[in-house]
């Protein structure tokens, strides 16, 4: 048989190589959150990418300028809707810093317990959803089962599973229920067991590891330059955690470690989140031991805190106080302040400006997701199309927070 003699130029044998443009999103089944990525592909390799956000923009900052200081709480719930309690506490701490009030000790422990529970639910959702997008559906169910346990506690405490609106300036909406400590002590071992089982299924899976390892790696220096914070920064080996570096509430009195990664790739981000779930569990158990059962939760300051409902209906002073707080809002002193806490995804900052009236002049949120999503383009350029899914999943972009 004679060899096929194709009378062709060398270049004509190649496949056509002009770049292909592909729209990923804004609604893509394998990506949580509404984000659109415009890709320029050469074969399956990403040459250029443009990440476009804003599909969930609701004018959060403009809305805040229309109500009273206390009316911001329902809005911050809807920023990071996977860990709303961390936002509630972060905003409350910002206003309290401007008012120069400090909540009672019992409330500080209570805020820590609820905040760390939220952090567990945040990390469980992120890791579970990422595994699911890679095709591992079973661990997702394990993690969601664990998240249900967290949400059951939060529901018992706040009355809502997702959007609690539970924070208040100078305290919380309700004191802790008597069953809180028992619920936490019972749920934590069960949650950790589920986390371990889910982890065992994933981290012994060669396919899963291969898809995460050395994918979407970034160096610590680049991550800092991109203003990354939180688990994504710690995965690169930079041990910056607001809870350790600038302790607020009672974080300087509890014992916990800051898990860090080494390579800053997707697997490290996954492992850092798993490590943080364990550390949060440790913090919660310590808080349960140390939170007093008796004592006030709200500060005794009639300028900011609502009087008890019973007094509102029976005494004229409390009625007037309630009326003024509802109609005019708490008068926050004139000034500006930047307050920062460790949110689910990193440093959650609130820069608030007050002109001395009951309405905020400016509420600026510094969403941790925003700079992290900015770095997505850098992580996926030069990689394969299919790598977008694990990289994007591990960044844990929350649309509500990123798009304000």
């Amino acid at each position: 048989m004679e060899p096929i003699d194709l009378d062709l130029e060398e270049s004509e044998l190649e496949l056509p190589s002009e770049p292909m443009h592909l729209n990923m999103g804004p609604s893509h089944p394998a990506m949580h959150g509404t984000v659109r990525i415009v890709l320029e592909l050469s074969g399956e390799t990403i040459v250029k990418s443009d990440v476009q956000i804003g599909y969930l923009h609701r004018g959060f900052e403009k809305m805040c300028e229309r109500g009273t200081w206390n009316q911001v709480f329902p809005y911050v719930d809807r920023l990071n809707y996977v860990s709303p309690m961390l936002n509630n506490v972060g905003y409350a701490l910002a206003v309290e810093k401007l008012c120069e009030i400090e909540v009672p000790e019992r409330c500080q422990w209570y805020r820590m317990i609820l905040g760390e529970l939220s952090r567990i639910s945040d990390h469980l959702t992120c890791n579970g959803a990422m595994a699911m997008e890679l095709g591992a559906f079973t661990p997702f169910l394990y993690y969601i089962k664990a998240r249900e346990m967290v949400w059951d506690i939060l529901e018992e405490e706040t009355g809502a599973r997702l959007t609690h609106s539970f924070g208040r300036i100078g305290g919380m909406a309700h004191p802790p229920t008597p069953a809180l400590k028992d619920m936490c002590r019972n749920a934590i071992p069960a949650i950790l067991k589920l986390v371990e089982e889910g982890e065992g299924m994933l981290l012994r899976n060669r396919i899963f590891i291969d898809r995460l390892e050395n994918v979407g790696a970034i160096s610590g220096k680049d991550a800092i330059a991109l203003s990354w914070t939180g688990p994504c920064l710690r995965a690169t080996g930079v041990p910056y955690d607001v809870r350790k570096a600038h302790p607020y509430l009672k974080y300087d009195e509890v014992d916990f470690d800051v898990p860090v990664g080494t390579r800053g790739d997707t697997l490290d981000r996954f492992l850092v989140r798993l490590g943080e779930i364990r550390q949060s569990a440790r913090i919660i158990l310590q808080c349960c031991d140390r939170m007093p059962d008796e004592g006030p939760v709200n500060v005794d300051d009639p300028r900011f805190v609502f009087p008890p409902k019973r007094d509102v209906y029976t005494t004229i002073e409390a009625t007037i106080q309630h009326f003024k707080l509802v109609m005019e809002g708490a008068k926050v002193p004139k000034g500006e302040v930047y307050s920062y806490t460790e949110g689910g995804n990193g440093e959650l900052g609130f820069y608030i400006v007050s002109d001395g009236t009951g309405t905020p002049w400016r509420v600026r949120i510094r969403p941790p997701c925003f700079p992290i999503t900015q770095g997505l383009s850098e992580l996926i350029n030069g990689g394969m199309l299919s790598d977008i899914i694990p990289v994007f999943g591990s960044l844990n972009m929350i649309g509500g927070e990123c798009d304000h």
Binding site: Q52, G54, K62, G335, R362, R366, F370, H404
Partner: protein
């Protein structure tokens, strides 16, 4: 701790530092917008400053003041663990000439923050590589975080793009004819043919 930063700034830049204060532990320096980039570069590169992370950039609108807007930058140093708030005042009463140098070549992470500030507050960052709207759509009119933008203002409808603008054929063909697919929801066709 960061008091020292303010003193060094005042020493080094003199008149360019318009005012400083430390209210509630937040060290603030208001600097002249002409030397915005120079001061930023010094803060990043000087070993005793070492502000390696730009945490946040936003703008605040004060319609009563003469430089109307305040561009507010929050800096943090991972190694030194100190923070600084840097401000510059720009813009006249009508909101025109609100311009300031970009800092994207100093801290690359400010790219999106500057785009957001441009989008919502209308501050132009000179030299920004990609100054587009980020949270809102390109056809949006005005800058919603300005105090003179009414919160209940409606935006004009965006006209449909022509085929040339979109670059793809826009008249979509129905995926299936009237006789195909599920029978429910197709009564219109059935009535048309007199079958009821």
């Amino acid at each position: 701790m960061s008091q020292r930063v303010l003193e060094t700034l005042k020493e080094k830049f003199g008149d360019a530092v318009l005012e400083t204060h430390s209210h509630l532990g937040d060290e603030t320096a208001v600097v002249s917008p002409e030397r915005w980039k120079e001061i930023a570069r010094f803060l990043r590169d000087d070993p005793s400053m070492a502000f390696d992370m730009a945490v946040d950039l936003c703008a605040v609108d004060y319609p009563d003041r003469t430089p109307r807007f305040e561009v507010v930058l929050h800096l943090y140093s991972i190694s030194k663990r100190h923070r600084l708030r840097l401000k510059a005042r720009v813009g006249d009463a009508e909101g025109e000439k609100a311009e300031i140098d970009t800092l994207t070549d100093v801290w690359v992470g400010l790219n999106w923050f500057e785009r957001e500030t441009y989008d919502l507050m209308g501050i132009t960052f000179k030299g920004h590589p990609d100054l587009r709207r980020i949270l809102l759509y390109p056809e949006f009119e005005g800058h919603p975080l300005r105090k003179d933008y009414p919160a209940n203002k409606a935006q004009p409808l965006v006209p449909y793009r022509t085929e040339e603008e979109a670059g793809v054929p826009l008249d979509k063909l129905a995926p299936f004819g009237p006789d195909e697919g599920m029978p429910f929801g197709r009564r219109v066709f059935a009535v048309d043919r007199g079958e009821s």
